[in-house]
C-alpha cells in the first residue's frame, strides 16, 4: 500500500470513527433513535467481528489451505473465551495451542 493510500485510509478511518462516536451526541442530544434501529445496531459488532475472524483465518489461501493448528487454536481459544470471559486467556491459550501443536507436528 502506498503512503498516500495509507494516509487516505487513516484519515477516513479517523474521521469516520470520530463521527460515529460524536454524531448523535452533537446532533441528537435530546432525541432517541427508534428502538428497532438501536436493536439492529447491537448486532453489528458480533456480525462484523465474526466475518472478520473467518476472513482473516482463511485469507486468500482458500479453505483447503487452512492449517490444522490454526483451526485447533481458534477452537481452543474460543472455548477459553467462553469459560474465562477474558482476552488475556484467549491470547495466551490460543498461542500456546499453536506452539504445542507446532512442536508435536
Amino acid at each position: 500500500m502506498s503512503t498516500t493510500a495509507a494516509l487516505v485510509a487513516l484519515a477516513c478511518g479517523a474521521i469516520g470513527t470520530y463521527f460515529a462516536r460524536s454524531g448523535l451526541i452533537l446532533l441528537l442530544a435530546d432525541r432517541a433513535l427508534p428502538a428497532s434501529v438501536e436493536r439492529a445496531l447491537q448486532n453489528v459488532g458480533p456480525a462484523v467481528l465474526a466475518a472478520l475472524t473467518i476472513n482473516l483465518a482463511v485469507g486468500s489461501r482458500g479453505l483447503g489451505e487452512v492449517e490444522f493448528i490454526e483451526v485447533a487454536a481458534l477452537i481452543v481459544a474460543g472455548l477459553v473465551t467462553v469459560w474465562r470471559r477474558n482476552l488475556i486467556w484467549t491470547f495466551v491459550v490460543g498461542m500456546a495451542t499453536i506452539w504445542m501443536l507446532g512442536a508435536l507436528t
Binding site: 438501536e38 453489528v44 456480525a47 462484523v48 475472524t53 476472513n55
Partner: protein, 248 residues
Amino acid sequence: MTETPHGTTGRGIVDRQALTDIIPLAIPAIPFGFIVGLAVTESAMPQWVAWLTAPLIFAGAAQLAMITLAGAASLWAVITAVLVINIRHVMYSAALAPTFRKQPRWMRRVGPFLLVDQTFALASLQTHRAPADFRRYYLTVAVTLYAVWNVVVPLGMLVGPVVPESWRLDLAPPIMFAGLTLLAIKKIPAAVAAMVGGFVSLATIDLRDRLGIAVGAIAGVIAGAIAEQIIERRACTARPRPPQEPLR
C-alpha cells in the same frame, strides 16, 4: 465496581473511583494493544502511518483490521471494514447523548473522541452524577485508557521485529478477533448474527478485495434482526392473555 452514596469521590482532577473501576478493563487491553503493535511491524502500510492509527483512531479491532487488511484488500474495502466495525459506537453515542447535553461544548466535542467500549461500559453506569462529577469520572477513565493504549502499541512495535517467525504471531489477529466476537455476544440474536456473518463470510471468501467481510456482516445483521423479531413474536404469543369478560 464501587459506588459512593452520593456518586462523588472527592475533589481534584482525577476521580479515584474511576481509576479503581478502569483497572480490570484496562488490563485486557494490554495484550491486545501489544498484538496491534506487532501487526504494525508486519503491515503492508508504512509503519509510521500504521502506528498513527493508535492515537488517531484509538479503536483496537478497527485498527487491527486496517493494519492487517492493508495490502490484501482495496483501499475502499479497508476503509469500509474500519467504519463498519466502529458503527457500534453510534449506539454508545445515542445512549450517552442526554448526559452529554449537560456538558460544556468543549466536552461534547472532545469527550466522544475517547468513547471506546470500556469507557462506555463504565460511564453509562454513572449518568446519575452531577455534570462536573460525570465529566471528571469520564475523563479519568478515558484518558487512562488512551494513555495505556498509546504506550502498549509502540511497545509491541519494538518487540515485533525481534520475535522469530516460528512463534507464528501472524495467527494472533484471528485468535483475538474470535475472542472479541464471543465477548460481543450477549443475546441470542447477537449469536445468530455472528454465526450467519461467519458462515456467509466463509461462503464468499473468493470475492475480490475481501468483500466477503461486508457481505457477511450485512447478512449477519439482517439475520440478527430476523431472530429478534421471531423471539419477540414467540414471547408475545406465550404471554397469557388477560381474562375476557363474558359476552352479554
